[in-house]
Amino acid sequence: MLIHDQSRTGRRATAQAPLSSPEVNDIPEALRRRTAPALPEVSEMQAVRHYTRLSQKNFSIDTHFYPLGSCTMKYNPRACNSLAMLPGFLARHPMAPETHSQGLMACLFDLQEILKQVTGMHAVSLAPSAGAQGEFAGVAMIRAYHQARGDQARTEILVPDAAHGTNPASAVMCGFKAREIPTGPDGDVDIQALQAAVGPQTAGIMLTNPSTVGVFDRNIQAIARSVHDAGGLLYYDGANLNAILGKVRPGDMGFDVIHMNLHKTFSTPHGGGGPGAGPVGVSKRLEPYLPVPLVARDGDDYHWLTESERPETIGRLTAFGGNMGILLRAYIYARMLGREGMGRVSEFATLNANYLMARLREAGFEAAYPERRASHEFIITLKREARELGVNAMDFAKRLLDHGYHAPTTYFPLLVPECLLIEPTESETKEDLDGFVEAMIAIRREAKEDPEKVKSAPHTMPVRRLDDVRAARHLDLAWRPAANEGPHG
């Protein structure tokens, strides 16, 4: 039932608005609203009960193993939430002067420094609100760099076929053409194809390493050389930074620019789809172009660097400079981890992934890259199960829900058929990984004995499989007071 269905004319959560109804008599009638917006009219308890019950319909890290590949669904420490929401941070107006922002700015400055350290980059801006905005900022800086040099010919960004969809989309948003590079059979970028593709038109390359097929590209140094030699720059998509935290640094690999998904590696909440935070780090030559604001320290004082101090900046990406509350959460997490904890993140994320891959292979599932070490994630291809049992990756995914596990990422990367991209993260126990293996085995058994059960899964969720085609064809995107003729009506 929608909250709207619980609405009754005149019902109120009275305590939540000013008790008296002030008259407004100085706004011209023509500019005033004629009919009240059709927001629900419910009591405070109705709202609390409705949204509490809705929440219970979600899988989440706090309730379920959630091995969604490329999303790093690890534990979000509860202290990060409560401390980032201290009134001193929450009540601060974004336009408050520097004199009244030193506590916040100290945290941001420290975070910039920590991120510089773990990425090996020369400078960091915390401004981007999410990974995709970090990508945009990164590519925009590449663009600004070439433009500043008068190098107008560079119109192409190279993107491996295994890349996140955001990579080509970000390149296009910055006015580039995205040119796809194939992945070799061993999971590494096809280096010949790459070398054939680079040239004076190459603005740069966007790489995830370890890549989305779950392996570390062993030719990274050769790739870097090749692109740099051609005058292009290297962009590091930090989506998989969790796999190498404290072990290898993008800066050392030769990358010129990187974004980090703090909601992955630095464990800020995913919040049902966001907010994220996508700080960017750069090599020295890109520093002038970093998005603003940045925090600088001068003795014990912190101050903002904005457009006036940074005339070559690619600019501002949001009105007020970023997702501060998320940056604070990442900072708190980083301080709890400390220097020793950083490396442990990648070690145990990698241990968990390799263990889970080994167990699944032992159980007869096919790894996409069996000869390779898994990074913090790996791919299982269910093409044999699909062929022999008629049960595909989506069916496995849906049936896993019934077994109490969130599904891995399905059908991504696109180059592996019937693929499950599995990322267990370092915070899961061996017992939970074992339980997941048991569930996979059980589902394969079910697929043999009772395939319909798997193909029509899930059976124990609040709804059964949903009609996505109908959703797209018969658009029902908002409740309407009069014409609530949807399936719900």
């Binding site: 939540q16 609390v48 709890m336």
Partner: protein, 459 residues
């Protein structure tokens, strides 16, 4: 090992299953030369107790000054229920609802959010949020340029009365795609942007869209009907930038002019998000149904399951980067889900009547404050027009000095207009939301009067 559950026995058993001699061996495909040692410059790990002490100290560093700044971020009451529910683990630690059946909580909530935003804006469709108001406007502009079938133009007209930070962010985001932004001036008497000024700024250029903000950055109310009709007469799309709380009182974009604005966007912060030093907030973006396939960002839709039972799912995914890659409507991937959760609960708790009371209380407080301040010699309204909940004032001496003196007394007196609008002289923007009491406003007046008098004596 914080947040790592492995025992020594676990590690041994797992390595045995892998067939690796050590955890380090799992990294053996990484070129040795690239491996790093200790990250010495990063401080050692802290316990939760220690980091709690640190963060309390940091949070308490700056006191909590009394705030009379609005300028795009508003200090409204947020019901206690909002964040107690939004931070429940099931909302807080879930991800984008890729598996719809296991994410009906988030999905239904997004659908309800979309329903509420379309109700507020008077438009047909809403996405499930963007990063903030400014980036939402940038996406709205890109969308308008793609969507306008009548005019093949990359020119967009936007008023100089639009929030300066929005203008900057929009520029950063849309210019790499070759969008040309033309700024229209405002009437220095009224603070409004009239069709004549749009006309003058645009000349004969074809326009993909015209941005109309209500109220504008100065809090001034624009004649949105005339502006919308002007845009449509030029075959440009009318793109509204609005404050969602203001919409409880003001005419919704869908009803502006003869046929309504085509797109509306803005900042959802006033709907249950604390000031939070600037973020995370959430941008909203609504449009007419005809434009929905150009709408960027996640969209939840209602459909049915195998049993015909209603349920919710992400829809129109063919627009998005994970399907369309380089041809997507935007590179956007995440939305601001947690903030949308808060906004939805907030709107459910306030309702239309509650939001209207909040809007009216803010408006009347700002008016009352403005009157109090204007009793001080040399302080006067900058513009003559009707306003909503934000007032531009002229000050007798440089605003920076006065604001600095107030800040030294732990009061943030307003937003200094000097940097962005030097032509206005010494001027600030003040705002008193429903949170400010009569006593606090009088305190502001008394402090400012004293400071102005001191400066006068000094001069």
């Amino acid at each position: 090992m914080p947040f790592v559950p492995h025992t020594q026995d676990d590690i041994a058993a797992m390595l045995a299953a892998i067939g690796a001699p050590s955890i380090d061996a799992l990294f053996d495909e990484i070129p040795e030369a690239l491996r790093i040692g200790e990250l010495d410059a990063i401080p050692a790990g802290m316990s939760e107790m220690d980091v709690t002490r640190l963060m309390h100290k940091r949070a308490n560093t700056d006191g909590q000054p009394l705030c009379f700044i609005g300028a795009g971020a508003y200090d409204h009451h947020v019901p206690a229920a909002v964040w107690q529910i939004a931070t429940r683990g099931e909302f807080y630690s879930a991800y984008t609802p890729y598996q719809a059946e296991a994410s009906q909580g988030t999905l239904q909530l997004l659908y309800e959010f979309q329903s509420m935003m379309t109700a507020l804006t008077g438009l047909d469709a809403s996405n499930a949020s963007l990063y903030d108001g400014a980036s939402a406007l940038a996406e709205a502009i890109l969308m308008a340029v793609r969507a306008n079938r009548k005019v093949k133009s990359t020119k967009v007209l936007l008023p100089r009365t639009l929030h300066p930070a929005y203008r900057r962010a929009v520029r950063s985001i849309v210019e790499p795609q070759g969008i040309e932004l033309i700024e229209a001036p405002f009437d220095p008497e009224t603070g409004q942007t009239h069709p004549a000024q749009l006309e003058a700024a645009a000349g004969n250029a074809e326009l993909a869209a015209v941005v109309i903000n209500q109220p504008n950055f100065f809090g001034v109310l624009e004649d949105v009907d005339a502006l919308t009709d002007w845009a449509h007469a030029r075959n440009a799309l009318a793109l509204a930038v609005v404050n969602p709380v203001a919409l409880a009182l003001l005419s919704p974009p869908g009803e502006w002019g003869d046929t309504g604005a085509d797109i509306a966007c803005g900042e959802a912060q006033p709907l249950g998000m604390p000031l939070s030093s600037g973020g995370p907030y959430a941008g909203f973006l609504c449009c007419k149904m005809a434009l929905v396939r150009q709408l960027p960002g996640r969209i939840a839709g209602r459909t049915v399951d195998l049993d015909g039972k209603p349920g919710f799912t992400l829809t129109l995914q063919a627009r998005e980067q994970h399907i369309r890659r380089g041809k997507a409507t935007s590179n956007i991937c995440t939305n601001q889900g947690l903030l949308v959760t808060a906004a939805t609960i907030h709107m459910a708790l306030l309702g239309a009547a509650g939001l209207e009371r909040v809007a009216a209380a803010c408006h009347n407080n700002t008016r009352a404050l403005s009157e109090m301040l204007c009793a001080i010699p040399g302080v006067e309204p900058l513009f003559s027009s009707p306003i909503f909940h934000e007032q531009a004032l002229r000050l007798p001496t440089p605003a920076a000095n006065l604001l600095g003196a107030l800040a030294a007394e732990n009061l943030l007196g307003g937003f200094d207009l000097a940097a962005d609008y030097p032509e206005l002289g010494s001027a600030i923007l003040v705002c008193a939301t429903e949170m400010r009491t009569e006593e606090e406003m009088q305190g502001y007046r008394d402090k400012l009067a004293r400071i102005v008098a001191t400066v006068d004596r000094a001069a």
